[in-house]
Symmetry: C2
Subunit: 334 residues, 2 copies
Amino acid sequence: MAGGPSTVPLAAAVSEVGGLGFLATGYRTADAVTEDLAALTIATSRPFGLNVFVPSGAPADPQAVQAYAQRLAAAGLPAGEARFDDDAFEEKVALLARARPAVVSFAFGLPPAAAVAELQEAGIAVWITVTTPAEAAAAAEAGADALVAQGAEAGGHRGGFDGGEPGDLGLLALLQLCETAAEGVPLVATGGIMTGRAIAAVLAAGAAAAALGTAFMRAPEAGTSAAQRTALASDRPTAITRAFTGRPARGIVNAFMRDHDGAAPVAYPEVHHLTSPARAAARERGDAEGFNLWAGQAHGLATAEPAGALVERLAADARAALSEATAAAARGGA
Amino acid sequence: MAGGPSTVPLAAAVSEVGGLGFLATGYRTADAVTEDLAALTIATSRPFGLNVFVPSGAPADPQAVQAYAQRLAAAGLPAGEARFDDDAFEEKVALLARARPAVVSFAFGLPPAAAVAELQEAGIAVWITVTTPAEAAAAAEAGADALVAQGAEAGGHRGGFDGGEPGDLGLLALLQLCETAAEGVPLVATGGIMTGRAIAAVLAAGAAAAALGTAFMRAPEAGTSAAQRTALASDRPTAITRAFTGRPARGIVNAFMRDHDGAAPVAYPEVHHLTSPARAAARERGDAEGFNLWAGQAHGLATAEPAGALVERLAADARAALSEATAAAARGGA
């Protein structure tokens, strides 16, 4: 939920009712993350986590980026500098090791062994996002305390290791395969989970917990833009695209995606920076056809409830769903 | 499981232990289905179901089919007659109405109202396969007794209404959306379900039952070819393609799929008939690169257990998973 929706009040509201609130560090400076952490520590004394993007290994092909930049310029879009950076990875890891949140989760790859060690030595649980059994095995081997198993239903970026060929497994298939590939490592299930019943489902599938993103994007505490809130409340279809950032991500299909998806290179974060001004301008003028409307496949079920009330309702619904299914199975309903 | 894997002994073995065995009628003549039904009625006195393909509304563009035929011919492949037919739809519905199995399920579209009425008047439950909430709403409106909610994880053909743009929802997303779109109509969950835990998951998600296909394809009772059994036992990736039949279907990625996927038209059953001899020849010579290796995303978890033992193990595992998750949630684990 980097890039807007993730806020300190949202994470705090989730943690305050016994959930594990998460704060995104992506696209933010180390100083901004330090400020966020200070604010979150004031807002809640409960455990919370932060998510960090593992940097790409190397810059993308400059010619491919340049060709895409020319295409967007020809469409009349303002452009940002298509630079390669590591999103201040080492500074963020160092400051998190000092701040000692309960959890640091990683997306976009296997974090360096030194980062894992630094965080774990500080008593922080390290979670790694995986989208395939092979990634799960590698993350388990790297000593992850838990794996965030991200199904293809998920909104926003595919969090796995490969920005070119992202994992396409549905969440239930992934959970079953990870159980074998990374035996004994707890799984945090994510992707398309919008209801208490779906939380119950992933727990029954063996996950230790469920992680929800899109479900919170219409909450008043979220920083989601008005145009995106409207789109989330519709039943518009989603698709996975590199058009906005150069890395595959799921969003509601709109004109920008349709116009540029086929031409977008594998080039993260270059394309993210390149399209940033055009996306900000569209967001600002409320034009839902011109920026990334990240959303999971079941986004139409997102509600505008306050985050704390949502967590409490989902937890109660999940417990009820499990009891009901257990009773039905005992009667022979399975 | 039409086209080989579905057999009378497989359906009978499932029904005999209290499952609901299914027999495919696709690609079979009405006479062959009549013989199958007679054999199945002898093999088990328990309830079973049969699956029927709803015919496409109209033949595909002949030029597109011809272009694809030329491509395959250029690759040296033997060709069948790319004919349009309705797979003996009306004869099959009529004979099923007389035979009165417990369930008739439909794939590839909304069956005509007359067919639904004829079967229901004979006391047969009518199930309709859906892959989107819109299809679910239409099937509910058509009076379906249950909806087979097929997630994108599923092996074989996408069973929804649209052969051009198939539904891409993961199973858990689909179940949540169908609960709203077709309130009150029981859901049979299918797609990527290979373990008792996954069965538990879909029951917790609110499904009335789970339907498994790939999980049975290595069973000794299945008619699965030797080359496909070997491929199923691997961790080879799957993808959705029209290359083999002109309708999107998920199979293990192989040379035929890679070579022809991009060129395959929306043309079912024409392309099915066109490629039939090439596929049969490859299957015969054990060449897994030359025919359709239908498989769900988690196919690597399929076992070679006898079907009855598999059903009993999965049911016990599902009950255990539900009890475990319910107990964990009561302890606050959710």
